[in-house]
């Protein structure tokens, strides 16, 4: 089984990746890791349980803080936008709940491998388990936060429609898209430690640039095409609209589906190139 020993080249070359890709190993990791649902399911729950320990509210603290934020903001933003609180509140609530899911997955994605160093440097296992833990745990947190939306919808008697059922595919699309982003960001973040704060900063700006506090329709028509270039808009839309009993824009489904396929394809190739280097970076 001797392969020719090739000395590692450290010179900069005009080549995107200087490593030979290992597609088989990447496939076994990403797909094999998915089958290890007992492990990532357990790890996700354990992290939630830890938050419940020694606190009365546990993860509901995040819900409470988000709820208070929404409750406070709505009284400032509704008058600013010259709308009434009753029509603005459901939009803001659902938007921020979905945003906090996407935001924390993207931000935590940058450190999934860096924080998993304890296990990565101990044994060979599917690293993707760490990605699935992050996604699963954030979905559990989302189900805590979603109570805010439920409460608002009941209080303001927002109608449950047939479109409400689209919450399920919406959440699935968000999870699948965020999962590949945690793979890519996790690799880059493990190598370059500037990435986590950088991504955190970008996401902070994106919160205001993406229609979360304001509706896309509030911008003039000539701005609409540019707005649709924002991937996060579509990611939010597929989950937020059904939560409000509305039908999401079809283009949002097209974009998020395409991104899920394309993103995973890219993440797979990226992972195949760099998986074996991750342990060296920790």
């Amino acid at each position: 089984m001797a392969t020719e020993a090739t000395p590692v080249k450290t010179r900069r070359r005009w080549k995107l990746f200087s490593l030979e890709p290992q597609y088989g190993a990447a496939w076994n990791d990403l797909v094999g890791g998915l089958y290890e649902w007992r492990i990532w399911g357990r790890l996700g729950w354990q992290e939630i349980k830890r938050r419940y320990r020694r606190t009365a509210l546990g993860p509901f603290w995040a819900t409470a803080s988000l709820g208070m934020f929404i409750g406070g903001m709505v009284f400032i933003w509704a008058p600013l936008f010259r709308t009434n609180v009753a029509s603005y509140l459901p939009f803001l609530g659902a938007g921020l709940v979905v945003w906090s899911l996407v935001n924390s997955l993207i931000c935590e994605g940058c450190t999934v491998y860096a924080n998993g160093g304890n296990v990565i440097t101990q044994m060979n296992f599917p690293y993707s388990i760490l990605n699935y833990v992050a996604v699963w745990r954030n979905i559990i947190v989302f189900f805590h936060n979603v109570l805010i939306v439920v409460a608002i919808n009941i209080a303001l008697s927002i109608k449950v429609t047939i479109y409400t059922l689209l919450v399920v595919p919406g959440l699935f699309l968000v999870a699948v898209n965020c999962a590949w982003m945690t793979v890519v960001l996790g690799i880059v973040g493990a190598r370059y430690r500037d990435i986590p704060p950088l991504v955190g900063n970008i996401m902070q700006v994106m919160m205001f640039v993406t229609p979360v506090f304001w509706a896309a329709g509030q911008l003039p028509p000539e701005a609409q095409p540019f707005l649709k270039l924002n991937f996060l808009l579509h990611l939010i839309e597929v989950l937020r609209a059904p939560m409000l009993g509305e039908r999401p824009m079809l283009i949002s489904y097209a974009v998020t589906l395409l991104a899920a396929v394309g993103g995973w394809a890219f993440a797979f190739v990226f992972f195949a190139h760099f998986r074996r280097r991750i342990a060296y970076w920790l």
């Binding site: 089984m1 001797a2 392969t3 020993a5 090739t6 000395p7 590692v8 450290t10 010179r11 900069r12 007992r38 492990i39 357990r42 790890l43 354990q46 830890r50 320990r53 304890n118 296990v119 990565i120 440097t121 101990q122 044994m123 060979n124 296992f125 074996r276 342990a279 060296y280 970076w281």
Partner: protein, 258 residues
């Protein structure tokens, strides 16, 4: 057939965040792997060659002791065998189920109770949920931690933590066992019990690779040795020969220094 074939394995560590000042000190140091700088004046990278063209074959019944100074590459070699590090060049072929016991049990969380950690670590080490449940009483009994197992493990002393890790790690039935020395510790009574369990485990294990600075430990557990020096294999063979070579080299270095 359980075997490990290591073929011309070289492992280079890129060191990030090493300033050129600290680099200068590193170049002058005498322990550790070979440190070199590569590239033209810009884009210089510091690289430590932790393993250099290492090759050997291990078969059924081999109990290998890794011998060498700090930074000779013992732990790196164990991690290469465990599949943690993919070599920069060369190949490692492993036939058999590997169990690595390097620093601690993988997946340990300080805020979880002993029981919870047994389950998490057991699953990480490849046990199914049923298997963990079946082995749980044995692990609990062997650890002798009693009611402490209900408490978060951050309340444990370091000796108690070692007991727990050791109890979890030795409950599995691997073909190949990779051991870094830290794993055997605890108070005297536990140490003797641990030794008994360790010997029983080694009996069941087809191949053992143990890295340690303790000659006594290696002599009781191993039948062959590998002497590493700056990432190279300088001696390989029966354990007595390897220690003889190690002592000869140490004496030589001492006479040169003196």
């Amino acid at each position: 057939m359980t075997s490990i074939v290591v073929d011309h394995v070289t492992v280079d560590f890129p060191i990030y965040g090493a300033s050129h000042q600290s680099l200068r000190h590193a170049l002058l140091s005498r322990t550790g792997g070979l440190i070199r700088r590569e590239g033209e004046r810009r884009n210089q990278r510091v690289i430590v060659r932790a393993l250099d063209d290492v090759a050997f074959t291990l078969n059924n019944g081999d109990r290998i002791g890794l011998v060498g100074h700090n930074g000779a590459g013992k732990s790196t070699l164990l991690r290469v065998l465990a599949g943690v590090y993919t070599p920069n060049s060369g190949t490692v072929r492993v036939d058999g189920k590997i169990s690595p016991l390097l620093n601690a049990a993988p997946g340990l969380d300080l805020d979880d109770s002993g029981y919870e950690n047994i389950k998490t670590c057991g699953m990480f080490l490849g046990m199914s949920g049923d298997e963990v449940a079946r082995k749980l009483p044995g692990i609990a009994e062997f650890s002798e931690l009693g009611e402490y197992l209900d408490l978060p493990i951050r309340t444990y002393s370091s000796g108690m933590l070692t007991r727990l890790c050791f109890a979890i790690a030795t409950a599995i039935d691997p073909d190949i066992l990779l051991l870094d020395e830290g794993i055997a510790a605890g108070d005297a009574r536990f140490a003797s019990r641990a030794e008994g369990r360790m010997h029983a485990l080694i009996e069941r294990t087809r191949i053992l690779v143990l890295a340690s600075h303790s000659e006594a430990l290696i002599r009781t557990m191993c039948n062959r040795g590998v002497l590493l020096e700056k990432g190279r294999v300088v001696a390989l063979g029966p354990i007595d020969d390897v220690f003889a070579e190690y002592q000869r080299r140490n004496a030589e270095a001492a006479s040169q220094a003196g």
